[in-house]
């Protein structure tokens, strides 16, 4: 069993107007087997948290810590984090021209496992995973994300999740831009990866829709770079009915009960 712990994390980005703080003290503990949903309005810092965990160079951690079983994640380079077992399903996966999916998947798997996968089983695994996610076989020959639709890109992210078997998966708005069918397919993929009980999931979403298919154990509401409310799955139901309006009226006032709980 593994633990990903985020403690009082403060993150800023450089803008033309100078440094801007996006995350203002975030603390979370995620254990193997758990699914945490992070919900919040646009601009609340949800995606910043995801990118910071993965080590995107744009985000500067000014204080706080992220540890994986006690190991300092912030000290690790982007690739070291991935090899340590952290996976980020990106909101906007980039196209990498000229690099075939087949080559990319094998190279990544080799890097993560520290040895090349056995060719025969690997090819079979890739094919099976693609079928389950209803990704056409010819995608393997295409270049990474090149010419893929939004929904196809998201499926390919989940394909990687299933193949790389990380300890912790951070899903950055994987549900946005998906129609209901694609949402089901993608959710099934996440649930399969989760089923072995060897993965913890941090599910970042704007909408409650995906939570009908992926059941969270914990829900955290993010407003203005802070967790303002935490609870069980029932909190998501409440958000579905009420939306984020009551938080937006005054982040300061809403933060008070969260602080009282802590």
């Amino acid at each position: 069993m593994s633990t990903l712990e985020i403690k009082d994390l403060h993150v800023s980005i450089e803008t033309e107007q100078g440094s801007k703080e996006i995350l203002k003290g975030v603390s979370l503990v995620i254990r193997t087997g758990e699914t945490h949903a992070i919900m919040g309005p646009n601009g609340s810092g949800k995606s910043t948290l995801a990118s910071t965990i993965a080590g995107h160079p744009r985000y500067n951690v000014t204080s706080g810590s992220i540890t994986l079983d006690g190991e300092d994640v912030l000290e690790m380079s982007v690739d070291e984090r991935a090899r340590a077992g952290v996976f980020l399903a990106m909101q906007y996966p980039v196209e990498v021209p000229g690099v075939s999916m087949t080559n990319f998947l094998r190279t990544a798997k080799t890097a993560i496992d520290g040895e090349a996968p056995k060719l025969r089983t690997w090819t079979k695994d890739v094919k099976a995973a693609m079928e389950q996610l209803r990704i056409d076989a010819d995608f393997a020959q295409r270049n990474v994300n090149e010419g893929f639709s939004g929904g196809e890109k998201k499926r390919v992210e989940i394909l990687q999740l299933e193949l790389f078997k990380p300890k912790f998966a951070v899903l950055d708005e994987t549900d946005s831009g998906l129609d209901v069918d694609a949402l089901k397919v993608v959710s099934e993929g996440v649930n399969r990866a989760h089923a072995d009980g060897n993965m913890g999931t941090l599910l970042i979403t704007h909408y409650t829709r995906i939570l009908r298919y992926i059941k969270p154990d914990f829900v955290h509401v993010f407003v203005d770079g802070q967790v303002v409310e935490e609870g069980g799955p029932e909190l998501a139901d409440r958000l579905e009915e009420e939306g984020y309006d009551r938080y937006a009226k005054g982040a300061g006032a809403a933060a008070a009960p969260a602080a009282a709980q802590a």
Binding site: S77, D79, V94, P97, F104, T107, A111, I112
Partner: protein, 428 residues
């Protein structure tokens, strides 16, 4: 790619007015003597005072006004200020522009299907001079000095299933002249590979004749030794409904300057021109191409991609596309992309598009030079791939787009390996 500079379609001939002191519309004038003078960005002096080309009503700046002549004497000695030589370090030409080219030409060995006719001919062979007239002094110098030519003919209606390889191997550094003629007769189909290797100082003229309905692929590979100096004018004449695919790959050599041109002589022609270059420290790799849409309803597509690494690695790409008044229904696009892998490398990229008729299907050009895209690296590294491996993947992918065009597996494999070797140098 992170695009540092992007130039989007500029329509019409470049203006003769300098914009900023020391700059032409195409960018920096390299010579201080040029600063402040009103020098035409194209053709320059050569357009004003010569016996051929140019003519009444053709502006100095138009590619149509470029001097062409078989005679060396018609071209003035080079100073480095000429538009078409301004990026080239003349000192490193080792006399190709100034000496009598008396050295022994690199040996030529042709292999291919037996139906293909290979001849060694003298200067007086009537096929010589049918595809092009020299357009610069170095090309004219080779014309003046070449002893004999190799003519490769693909007979009419013959469809070659295996490629025709022309091995051109240099063994001496004495300045030499070379001449090749490739004729794809009517309705023939073939792939011709020019393998340039060894050590040489050579100016080469390659005439390419693509007769009506023929489909010809010419792949010119420059895998010279480090000391080689090579100038090659490769002029193609494209007949009715004929198709030329020209693929240029420059990897080795001290100075390599390839000037391919495609001229349409009848409607329905198609030209695809691809290029790949990888310039290392101190290397000068230059490519200037010209697509002459002189007749209606022809198509052209140009894509050149380069990677540069190391101090004073220098690549030059100039793409001139001319759509003449008669060339209605033209469809053309040209693009150049450069990836700068280290500090100290320089890429000059100049797309020129002249359009003399509005009745065309499409015309566009683009150029981008930049560093590697951090988002590409982040994506790959976020999947556990170490940075050095990720960088190689990105560069390989970038250049692969050209290699994939070759469609001769053995050559594709060889070039992929060659790119790997170039990339391995970066790590040192």
């Amino acid at each position: 790619m992170t695009e540092i500079t992007t130039e989007k379609a500029r329509i019409g001939a470049p203006s003769a007015q300098p914009f900023i002191d020391g700059f032409t519309e195409e960018g920096e004038s390299l010579s201080p003597i040029n600063a402040g003078t009103t020098k035409a960005p194209l053709a320059g002096d050569s357009a004003k005072s010569h016996s051929h080309g140019g003519g009444v009503g053709i502006p100095d700046s138009s590619r149509a006004g470029r001097l062409t002549s078989y005679k060396l004497a018609d071209f003035k000695p080079l100073t480095g200020l000429e538009e078409d030589w301004r990026f080239t370090p003349l000192k490193r030409l080792r006399g190709l522009h100034s000496e009598v080219l008396a050295g022994a030409a690199p040996t030529v060995v042709v292999n291919g299907p037996e139906q293909v006719i290979v001849e060694s001919v003298g200067r007086d062979d009537q096929r010589i001079g049918t595809a092009g007239i020299p357009e610069d002094r170095v090309s004219a110098n080779a014309w003046e000095n070449f002893a004999g030519a190799t003519v490769v003919t693909i007979p009419s209606e013959f469809e070659a299933t295996a490629e025709i390889t022309v091995d051109i191997e240099g063994t001496s550094l004495e300045a030499a002249a070379q001449h090749l003629v490739i004729v794809a007769e009517k309705f023939s189909k073939a792939v011709v590979v020019l393998n340039h290797k060894g050590s040489a100082v050579v100016s080469e003229n390659v005439e390419i004749i693509v007769e009506d309905g023929a489909s010809l692929t010419v792949i010119t590979l420059q895998e010279w030794n480090d000391d080689a100096v090579h100038a090659s004018s490769q002029q193609a004449k494209i007949g009715r409904d004929a198709k030329l695919k020209h693929v240029m790959v420059s990897l080795g050599g001290d100075l390599v300057r390839i000037t391919p041109s495609a001229r349409f002589t009848a409607p329905g022609g198609e030209a695809e021109m691809f290029g790949l270059y990888f310039a290392d420290a101190g290397q000068h790799l230059e490519q200037r191409l010209f697509v002459d849409h002189a007749v209606a309803n022809c198509k052209s597509n140009v894509l050149y991609k380069g990677a540069l690494q190391g101090r004073n690695a220098h690549a030059v790409w100039v793409g001139d596309v001319l759509i003449r008044k008669e060339a209605e229904g033209t469809d053309t696009y040209e693009a150049n992309r450069n990836l700068l892998l280290t500090d100290g490398a320089r890429a000059d990229s100049v797309p020129n598009l002249e359009i003399e008729t509005g009745l065309i299907e499409g015309a566009g050009h683009a150029s981008a030079t930049g560093r590697m895209d951090d988002e590409h690296l982040f994506y790959l590294m976020a999947r556990g791939i170490p940075e050095d491996v990720a960088r190689r993947l990105v560069v390989r992918g970038f250049l692969n787009e050209i290699i994939q065009q070759i469609k001769v597996p053995s050559i594709e494999e060889r070039l992929t390996d060659a790119v790997e070797r170039e990339l391995a140098l970066t790590d040192n």
